[in-house]
Symmetry: C2
DNA sequence: TTCATCTGAGAAAAGGTTTTCTCAAACAAT
DNA sequence: ATTGTTTGAGAAAACCTTTTCTCAGATGAA
């Protein structure tokens, strides 16, 4: 017996090609050809079939098409970035690039759980995804799944690839240079760097770029301060920078926007004005943080949406059989200038 | 000619049931039955087939199964919450609830674009999703798509449903009561409310709950301050609350965590201590904000993961043909106590 | 008239699985 | 020895679409 006497909604059956063909008085083969602009028939027949399809609201069953074509117009996005800080902009770009081609995206969060990862990968493969994009919350870590030797192409975006895989990451070195060079152009002389823990590869890359730019500009290089990615660390780092007896910085380049936020708050507490006394630049351009900061934070944007779009398009061409050179492609960052570093001396 | 002479990766063909059957020396029908524990055959035959399947790494083609069963083990999640503030926890709950049943989730961001929305809905329908969950970035707004009279069941989560639809939302009234009652228990006497714009339905619901609890506790009701959802507004509201000649509040209940953040910062700038002078509670429990606040912010959590799980399970049962009562179900919030409102007088 | 070519359209196979139907062999009962 | 029942397993249809093959009729040339 039914568990309840609620009305069970009844859903109308989809109209199939067979229905269209019957209505139009032709065979399914002819109907198919009419709708796909294939085969030969009088213009009159073709139009009649098309009109019938339109009238009936016919939409081809993707499952049947996929089965035949061995192509499902579906891709999987694998991530362990639960709160989507990085994977959502990426997703947005991917989806953007693919929706026009009728491709839909399975989003699978695998956390750090290999079992869960395997389940998702298996489910996607069973559903015959055309390809997989792997992403994560940090560039230098693998997802807890083995994606080598899959039956479908895999693209890595913003996460560490298998060797020989095709990967897209942001150009952290370039991004860091953008920030430090901006300070140089503004005439800042003592530029500090406060960033995350040494366990992150990006930290070293950016530190190196920071040093390089300072040397190139003949400015003194102070030791970068490594800590955590938190606001609290930014706050604390200011104490280290300004309490010591070494000369005070007039600019701080921060490893992310939260650190920058902490730095700015600490500076204000010390009565230092941003940007007139000290300029600050963040990283990530997390708008919700960068725009809420007072003053609004200048920050390096990793162009994740563009990165996602690129990854999506490349996957698509890979699926289409076009080869792609394996290796890591770095996509440029851009500096989003707000009000936390002031104007050039002359401006 | 090929655009390049790169090696084109060659992907091995999946092994089909036919392959298994051939290897085991039986018909595909028998093989299918063996693997699905259907039909009749000797235990020996069944085991031999299973062993063969295992050895060959056979995995049934989901597309073929779906085509036959008219059930794709796939659902669509439609959202316009680009940065996933609300939809990602929801997604996480949905995915959690469904992955064990082998169900995968298409994530579709429709922004505010009806054309895009229609594209995504069409694509999902063509791919024969078993059902759709609609969500959004605010409860009292429709997505820019018409989901009535679809061929599949639709569940609304955290967004305004069609009449007669099944919907899950957070119990904002209960959540607000939780916060204000907490202040009352702590012995706070002059509790203010700073929240978002009047155009949001939740603002009114929470304001009403705020008033009710104060009246129930015999406390004075001050006019709630409506503004925007931003940190800046929280900052500014403190000026209004503390510069006037009316009695100063000893507690502020905020409409979201960003406002709370602004409030706390402004209080500190005035030399007021949180929590000893003024207690503060936020809403949303956005951990990245709530935990970075100094002191860490007590906040109302809408239990979005649980809400997503509930929505997923209900959709599943709807897909399975079990009816569900239409209407809006409110799920309780919970208060996550951190350090921004202090201990009870006796504690 | 006869042969060759072209045209429009249908029949059938394919894609991979599930399920119903059928059937021969083995067995039990008369 | 005949009839009835059970058992194990295969044939075939179904899901829906695409594509190749086939073919009858029409047209053109000789």
């Amino acid at each position: 017996m039914p568990s309840d006497d609620l009305p069970v909604p009844v859903f109308s059956k989809p109209v199939t090609l067979r229905d269209v063909a019957a209505q139009a008085g032709v065979s399914v083969a002819t109907a198919s050809k009419a709708l796909n602009s294939q085969g030969r028939m009088t213009a009159e027949t073709r139009e009649r079939i098309r009109e019938t399809a339109r009238r009936l609201g016919f939409r081809p069953n993707s499952l049947a098409q996929s089965l035949l074509r061995r192509r499902s117009f579906t891709v999987g996005l694998l991530t362990n970035d639960t709160y989507g800080r990085f994977s959502l902009p990426l997703m947005s770009g991917i989806s953007d690039a693919l929706v026009d081609n009728g491709v839909s995206v399975f989003l699978c969060n695998v956390e750090e759980d290999p079992r869960l990862g395997q389940m998702h990968v298996d489910a996607m493969l069973d559903k015959r995804v055309d390809g997989i994009i792997a992403t994560g919350k940090r560039i230098d870590r693998h997802l807890p799944v083995d994606l080598s030797n899959l039956r479908v192409p895999v693209i890595y975006a913003f996460t560490q690839p298998d060797p020989d895989a095709v990967a897209f990451v942001s150009d952290d070195v370039g991004g860091a240079r953008l920030a430090v060079e901006h300070f140089c152009r503004l005439g800042r002389k003592r530029i500090a760097h406060v960033t995350g823990p040494a366990s992150f590869a990006v930290v070293h890359a950016r530190v190196q770029a920071y040093r390089d730019v300072l040397v190139e500009n003949g400015l003194p290089v102070s030791e970068p301060l490594l800590g955590s990615w938190s606001e609290a660390w930014g706050h604390q780092a200011v104490a280290q920078l300004f309490d010591g007896k070494s000369e005070r910085p007039d600019a701080v380049f921060c490893g992310n926007d939260q650190i920058a936020r902490g730095v700015i708050d600490a500076l204000r507490e010390r009565g230092l004005d941003v940007p007139s006394d000290v300029g600050v630049i963040g990283f990530d351009n997390w708008e919700i943080v960068a725009e809420a900061t007072r003053p609004p934070l200048t920050s390096v944007d990793m162009n994740l949406v563009a990165l996602g779009r690129e990854a999506g398009l490349t996957l698509l061409s890979l699926v289409g059989g076009k080869p792609a050179a394996p290796g890591i492609r770095k996509l440029p960052c851009r500096l989003v200038v707000r009000q936390s570093c002031g104007h050039p001396p002359g401006g």
